[in-house]
Amino acid sequence: MSERLVNEPPAWAAGVCAGLHAAGSRDVVYVPDNPLSHVLGQIAERYRDVRLTLATREEEAFGIAAGLYLGGRRPTVLLQSSGLGNSLNAITSLVLPYQIPMLVVVSMRGDVGEWNAAQVPMGRAVGAILDAIGMPHATVDSPADAEHIVRLTATTAFDTRLAGACLVPRRITTGAAVHRGSAAAS
């Protein structure tokens, strides 16, 4: 990551960090993707009290986050939308029935601005899947709203014991980069 990215994070990424921190989350379990690298860089740089934990696969991240909650922490899971498919068994047979709350921040693929056909079917299905399993979700509509939406999603999750997702669309995470086209924006 370049110096510039660390020092001048995109507003949406700064908002995600501020929102999860304001909600009391000090544990972030993640499987990286390119837009989320801005969030991870910000956390490492400016939120030293937040512990970052890398998982090898998204389902594992949900298991680790569940254990962190049982142990008294307020976990956040960061993942790309493609990883939601990898996570569904842990979400539906652990996180939801045991009422283990966590903030889930989803970097969207397959929505407006996508260039990779392999990302499209899952990306299109994310909202419907979350509705079908009964996980509330909100969307970051503008970079300026990111902190507010992330914080409210998290506080609602922890207060109601129901994990909640915050979707960050590609039109937000890629900004102008999407117009440069192709793999550069991935």
Binding site: T53, F62, I64, G67, L70, G71, S93, P97, Q99, D159
Partner: protein, 202 residues
């Protein structure tokens, strides 16, 4: 040694420490071997027990944390060993009840029945690891011996024990109420959920 006997040894060694159990027969035997509030019984999420245990171990570094896993379950989430090896929580002990079969689903053979070696996999991912074939072996491994005694190496690494067990028909099942299991567990490990603070809304 059958799985129930092995589970009794783990429960005894754990004293007041939390134990996370994989779904099906491992959880049933944990309940039969010694139901206690510090037991977290999973009813689903096959493969994820070691990840849950890792999360608890990170949140409670002052406590030993045990996982009772199955061979088939761990094989579903081998990446968990890489993560445990990366983070090196010294307080985490994963006991894999290795009977070489998917016993809960009818006894189909797992890869360990044909030579897949979970101890070697754990070592390759930088865990301390050992295989127990007798009750005495297992006892020596789980009873928290001082570093270098009864342990393959330092005692400062996460430990994975492959307990070679025979299948034993479970005799009891834990409570079905997932929220009850969670709340009882959290209260027992010093983290009562009811006392969780409400975050101020701005």
């Amino acid at each position: 040694m059958n799985r129930l006997e092995a589970t009794r040894i783990v429960v005894h060694a754990a004293r007041d420490a939390p134990i996370v159990a994989s779904l099906g027969h491992p959880a049933y035997d944990l309940f039969a071997a010694g139901d206690r509030p510090q037991n977290f019984y999973t009813w689903g999420s096959m493969g994820v027990a070691s990840s849950i245990g890792l999360g608890v171990a990170l949140a409670k570094p002052e406590s030993r944390v045990f996982v009772v896993d199955g061979d088939g379950a761990l094989l579903m989430n081998l990446g968990s060993l890489a993560t445990i090896g990366l983070l090196q929580p010294p307080n985490l002990v994963v006991v894999v009840m290795d009977n070489g079969e998917y016993a809960t689903t009818g006894g189909q053979a797992t890869p360990t029945a044909h030579g897949a070696d979970l101890e070697a996999a754990a070592r390759a991912m930088r865990l301390d690891a050992a295989t127990a074939r007798t009750e005495a072996d297992l006892q020596a491994l789980v009873e928290a011996p001082p570093p270098g005694v009864g342990r393959p190496s330092t005692g400062r690494q996460p430990l994975l024990i492959v307990a070679k067990v025979t299948e034993s028909r479970p005799t009891a099942k834990p409570p079905l109420d997932c929220v009850y299991i969670k709340q009882r567990f959290m209260a027992a490990i010093g983290n009562p959920e009811a006392a969780a603070p409400v975050v101020e809304r701005r």
